[in-house]
């Protein structure tokens, strides 16, 4: 099996879906001849032409707005938002339009678009090239939200997102775009949305993460193991739909849970997970669910290592949770 990084896996999925289905269209800023500022669409315009791989004017609302029209007409539009931080000019089109189209029309107008966007910190991007806005979209009924951590999942979940009958926000962990390498099956790979991966089996505490932070969680779990703490690690992969069964099964077994995310803590997805765990595992819980997260500040430039919930802070939380 070939080894790829996440950029290559995304590129591979896009290419295969475009070959398979002539209605798949890619659009966004700099995605055409240039192949995207992260090169995720490199070579696509060369293969599929400027009619299906389109450089748009600089307006995220226009990118998503026109993608909606394409979807209503029957195409499978895959808009790219250059950085998740720049998704907000399209927020109204996503939250009031994409998410509600099927419902508001009584089922007459489905709107299956897949919005790809690199998210998260750790690349020295400061306030505006580092944000993790997943919670805002998970809070919006009608949207699905997917966030892979590995090249294999990036490929398989992106293909699934593009084929899905519902709109999907596909968050790509740019911090590990190139650093995360792994074997990826050649040819068609479609992984189901809504299934978490138990990437490490353990008994003492459940550690939940996704995207770039899954790598930190994985590291922390390994270090914890060296200290004799037996951690079960879940990579959520899809945040909406959520694999609640996997979470509940794990926490009922371990009795303890730590949730990790980059976004600010307050009203982040960690709060929702904490609430769900409590609702479903109340009688099994031996310690409060702990959140290891970004802080309630804008994302910083110089102090980004301090800001990010990396392995050392996760490890500390694991220790404290098992000793509660």
């Amino acid at each position: 099996m070939p080894v790829m990084n996440i950029i290559q896996a995304v590129n591979d999925a896009l290419r295969l879906e475009m070959r398979r289905d002539p209605s798949v269209v890619v659009l966004g800023e700099d995605v055409g001849a240039f192949g995207g500022v992260f090169r995720a669409t490199a070579g696509l315009q060369q293969e599929f032409g400027a009619a299906r791989v389109i450089d748009t004017p600089l307006a995220e609302g226009g990118i998503v707005g026109t993608a909606i029209g394409m979807a209503l007409y029957g195409l499978r539009a895959v808009p790219e938002i250059q950085f998740a931080d720049f998704i907000f000019p399209a927020f109204d089109q996503i939250v009031n339009e994409v998410a509600k189209y099927r419902h508001r029309s009584g089922g007459q107008y489905p709107c299956p678009i897949t919005i790809r966007t690199p998210y998260g910190g750790g690349i020295k991007g400061g306030h505006y090239h580092s944000q993790s806005p997943e919670a805002l979209f998970i809070h919006t009924p009608g949207l699905k939200v997917v966030c892979p951590a590995t090249p294999r999942d990036a490929k398989g979940l992106l293909a699934a997102a593009i084929r899905d009958p519902d709109p999907v926000l596909f968050l790509e962990p740019k911090r590990v775009y190139r650093a995360a390498k792994g074997e990826v099956p050649e040819g068609e790979l479609v992984l189901p949305l809504g299934q978490a991966a138990v990437t490490r089996v353990g008994t003492q505490v459940t550690l939940i993460a996704w995207g770039a932070m899954w790598h930190e969680a994985d590291r922390a779990a390994a270090e914890a193991a060296a200290e004799g703490i037996d951690v079960e690690v879940l990579d959520l992969r899809s945040l909406q739909p959520l694999d609640l069964d996997a979470i509940v099964a794990s926490v009922r077994k371990t009795g303890r849970a730590v949730v990790v995310h980059e976004a600010p803590r307050t009203c982040g997805f960690g709060g929702e997970l904490s609430a769900l765990i409590q609702e479903h595992c109340f009688l099994s819980l031996e310690a409060p669910v702990v959140r290891v997260t970004g802080f309630d500040t804008p994302f910083p430039y110089t102090l980004e290592n301090e800001y990010l919930p990396r392995a050392p802070r996760i490890l500390k939380a694991l220790r404290e949770t098992v000793n509660f």
Binding site: V25, A50, A51, R52, T56, P57, A59, G61, G62, V64, G65, T66, A67, I68, G69, M70, A71, L72, Y73, G74, L75, A77, P89, D92, Q93, N96, E97, K100, Y101, R102, H103, R104, S105, G106, G107, Q108, Y109, P110, P141, G142, K144, P165, D166, G194, Q240, P241, L242, L244
Partner: protein
């Protein structure tokens, strides 16, 4: 397949004479006269031809009369508390029917919220529309949206959303998709003068022009955005001239002249289909009534300013034209009026006979193609709550007493 890429037009030459030239408002040459074919007395302009056969003209007159009667009846119904809200097009009927009638049957229509007339043209049954007003079990939109937010996919009439101007880039996307598919489909998208201030107006027109996509942008300039007059919405002398910012065609049309609207829209559609790109049409008209049944214009607009516009009534003008051409006499007009009244009344009776509420599970359907865990669990939760306490579904038991 996309048409050949437009060659970028060369910018004007440099002047190195040391004098500065700059465009100043007011210097715009008379590039945007009001296009009209019929005057207020119903006289056809010299040399002009009626762009549709007689029968279609009479049919369009009938639609406009029906729409007017419908609006008046529904406003009354709202006052009686039988429907919750209504937004009509009194005085603006020609902008809706003239433009919609100019499109081909396969074309898509993106409404703002005053254009249910276009949905009727596309086959939306009056009764289904009224079920939407009632939000009852007969509503094709399943009672999920406010009145006048209808969807009608069989007629390629797209679902309405309240946030203004969002439909503009969406319509552009349809034109784009049609080009990719190689289909002869042109979207017609409606919006008001106030909506030209919204950001999606800008992105919509810009994307269409850059890609030279065939879209008919139809602005119903009715002079008002709720209480805000057009002059406080934009400082440009016309809406049509905004086309210049996008390198697009623009035209100002008498929006109370059905024939002019039809003619201009038809030309815009033809250009769109020929790969010549989008057109911005400004239909100059007037909102004779309040913004909606939630609004009382007396709070911000003296009645006098409306008077001159009443004389320009588009239905009156068309009727005079028909009379002049011997297509409609007094008796026929009266019969037609009675006919549409009966039609409206019959549709209303049928609509009101439907169950008042869609089934409770309909709330949880269509959020996703297949309900997810939350929707399934929450429906069960709601059912259980309703079974335990009938007040859950009934406002009076809680709010009233």
């Amino acid at each position: 397949m996309p048409r050949t890429k437009p060659k970028p037009r060369p910018p004007p030459p440099a002047s190195r004479d040391g004098t500065a030239r700059q465009w100043a408002p007011g210097r715009l040459p008379e590039e945007f006269p009001l296009h009209a074919l019929v005057d207020e007395e119903g006289r056809l302009a010299q040399g002009a031809a009626v762009p549709v056969p007689d029968a279609e003209l009479v049919a369009l007159y009938r639609w406009m009369v029906l729409e007017r009667q419908l609006d008046e009846r529904m406003i009354t119904l709202q006052r009686q508390g039988r429907i919750g809200f209504y937004v009509g097009s009194i005085g603006e009927e020609a902008t809706v029917f003239g433009s919609a009638a100019a499109m081909a049957p396969q074309d898509w229509i993106f409404p703002s919220y005053r254009e249910h007339g276009a949905a009727f043209l596309r086959g939306l049954p009056l009764e289904a529309f009224m079920c939407g007003l009632l939000g009852n079990a007969g509503d094709p939109g399943r009672g999920r949206q406010m009145p006048c937010h209808e969807s009608w996919a069989p007629g390629r009439f797209v679902s309405i959303s309240s946030p203004v101007a969002t439909q503009l880039p969406q319509a552009v996307g349809v034109a784009w998709a049609a080009r990719i598919r190689g289909d002869d489909v042109v979207p017609l998208v409606y919006f008001g003068d106030g909506s030209t201030s919204a950001h999606d107006f800008h992105t919509g027109l810009n994307f269409a022009a850059v890609q030279r996509l065939g879209v008919v942008f139809a602005c119903r300039n009715n002079g008002w955005a709720i209480s805000v007059p057009r002059e406080r919405q934009t400082a440009s002398e016309t809406i049509a001239q905004k086309a210049i910012a996008y390198g697009m065609r623009g035209e100002r049309v008498d929006g109370n002249d059905l024939l002019a609207v039809l003619d201009a829209t038809r030309r815009a559609r033809a250009r769109a289909a020929a790969g010549e790109g989008p057109t911005l049409l400004e239909f100059v008209t007037y909102r004779l009534e309040g913004h909606s049944t939630s609004d009382d214009p007396r709070a911000y607009r003296p009645a006098e300013v409306v008077e001159p516009w009443k004389k320009k009534d588009p239905i009156l003008r068309l009727r005079r034209l028909l009379q002049r051409r011997g297509l409609l006499d007094e008796a026929a007009a009266a019969a037609l009026l009675e006919e549409v009244r009966v039609e409206i009344q019959a549709a209303l009776r049928q609509a009101e006979a439907k169950p008042a509420k869609p089934p409770v599970e309909s709330l949880f359907e269509d959020v996703y193609a297949v309900p997810m865990r939350q929707q399934v669990e929450q429906l069960a939760e709601l059912r259980e709550a309703m079974a335990a306490d009938p007040r859950v579904a009934n406002p009076r038991h809680v709010d009233g007493a």
